[in-house]
Amino acid sequence: MFFAAAFDLPSAPASAGIAWPDVALSFFAIVLEGAPFLLLGAIVSGLVDVFLPANTIKNWLPKSKTQGIFAALGAGLIFPLCECGAMPIVQRLIRKGVPPAVATTYMLAAPALNPLAMFSTYLAFRNQDPWLMIVLRFGFSLAVLIFLGFWLIKLRPDQMLRAETITGSPRPAQELSPNPGLVLTPRPGLSLGGLQQFTGAVIRDFTGVLLFLVIGAAAAALFSTGFNRNLLAPIGHDPFLGPLAGILLAQLLCLCSTTDAFIIAAFVPFSIPAKIAFLVAGPLIDLKLYWLYRSAFQPRFVHGLWIRALAATFLLTLLYSMHP
């Protein structure tokens, strides 16, 4: 009943069904917003491919996996990346020899611990105890990331990654990517090896992840347009259901970590724990990111990541919600 009402299925008023032109408007806006960042990520990935030898990267990394996780968390703070731009870079880093657990922790930390996200949280909540919101957002995000990092270092690369991500060469049988058969044959007689390598890397990375952005944007547009967010208002202040409502809203709205605070700050019916749950869960995974992660990782791993990230967020915010 709740589900039907939330999505305006037949039991809801007929006048309020999903408006498909509005879905098209949202979809178009999301892909136009994400594509430039994805292209930027692919370009950085191409530069890493051409100019950063694998040995150099390995020399920079701590030898211990645990230290690597904390280095990745620190890198997430120092080198902020948006969710869309991170995907091609992380895949390239893995191919260059960065341990998948470390690269994945960085991928999750970059948007979640992003200083810009914290600054926007301050601005959005500056009339509602901004420092408390920053401390809670940063602290809970860090705790969830450490928990995920220690889970990640227990996994073998083949348990996490698609075969293509490990080898860098297309493995058609498992491909959803549009370019499994994209065989780049350099034109003979051109002495432009570096440019060819760079261009090939950018095109392969951009078109490979773009398909997942399109699928993720379609899912995000459908749910963000069709879901009646006001239905979550009555449970937003409940100590148990409030955090769940915050997490659910974050999964459906698929916002960037630098702007999500403004949306939720204006949503008065949510309690602080519900708002924090929204701000912690959203940058880690949502409907759009689920599909973007599928471009590099195995579905089973992504499902595991999704469950753990949301469960940890829920537990922390529930504990905060219950505190006297």
């Binding site: 032109p21 136009l32 292209l39 959005a124 060819q196």
Partner: protein, 254 residues
């Protein structure tokens, strides 16, 4: 042979199609309905880069001489065609089908008819409050040009209400009557239209006319801030009302 040629040209075709869609969206002004100003220049940059990449691809690479696979094999021509089409068709279709404004159905779900206490005026910077104060401090004998958001900001401050209640205002916005309550609203956009949120004021007085939902209206009237169930509801007592063109910036950025 044709399949091999298609496989070769597909990446260039997709990248140049995306670039064309981006450039057309910018040139037609439709981008103002999709992205906040900060992101528009990124789209222009991406469009140019995609064009350059398409040209570089055609210049640097040539069709491969690999042996053809069965059409429905994972790397077969038909499968590849389908995957490339998934990159082409949705974005082209969305560029053609996306409307100028969200429908009443979506506005309701985003809180157009929510109780006044359900949403606060979103804050990005102190500019909103500064603008509202400037409006309040303007000459009281002159018609005050205001945005819907100025009136909402004023409604949150008793001192600003005291200084502005009863002032004659000129305001432009979108009309909505889907719940039986006459409203003038603007959409607030942070990044893109997908996150846009309606903010509305009530309309009373002389609103006669065949106004349709999501129609742009220009209104002159008196600003009022009555209190309902403990919440101040900004409203305009309409004296004159007429249809107008969509402004250059249909969405407001906070």
């Amino acid at each position: 042979m044709i399949g091999r040629q298609f496989s070769f040209f597909a990446p260039a075709l997709v990248m140049s199609a995306w670039a064309t869609v981006m450039l057309h969206t910018i040139a037609s002004g439709h981008i103002n309905r999709l992205l906040s100003p900060m992101f528009r220049s990124y789209v222009l940059g991406a469009a140019i880069l995609l064009m350059v990449l398409s040209a570089l691809y055609l210049f640097l690479y040539e069709p491969s001489a690999e042996t053809p696979k069965p059409a429905l094999a994972p790397t077969g021509r038909l499968r590849q065609l389908g995957r490339w089409m998934m990159l082409l068709i949705p974005v082209i279709a969305a560029s053609v089908l996306s409307p100028a404004a969200f429908s009443s159905s979506t506005l309701e779900k985003r809180g157009l008819d929510a109780a006044p206490a359900s949403y606060q005026m979103p804050t990005w910077s102190t500019t909103g409050q500064t603008d509202a104060k400037a409006v309040v401090d303007s000459d009281p004998n002159q018609l005050a040009p205001v945005e819907v958001t100025d009136l909402i900001t004023i409604s949150k401050s008793p001192s600003l209400i005291k200084g502005f209640d009863g002032r004659k205002v000129h305001v432009v916005g979108l009309f909505n009557n889907s719940s039986g309550n006459l409203k003038l609203y603007r959409m607030i956009m942070w990044c893109c239209a997908a996150d846009a949120q309606p903010m509305s004021i009530a309309l009373t007085g002389n609103t006669t006319g065949d106004w349709k939902n999501e129609q742009w209206l220009e209104i002159v009237g008196t600003a009022r801030f009555p209190s309902t169930l403990g919440h101040v509801v900004p409203q305009v007592e309409v004296e004159s009302i007429k249809a107008t063109q969509e402004p250059d910036e249909p969405f407001l950025s906070p």
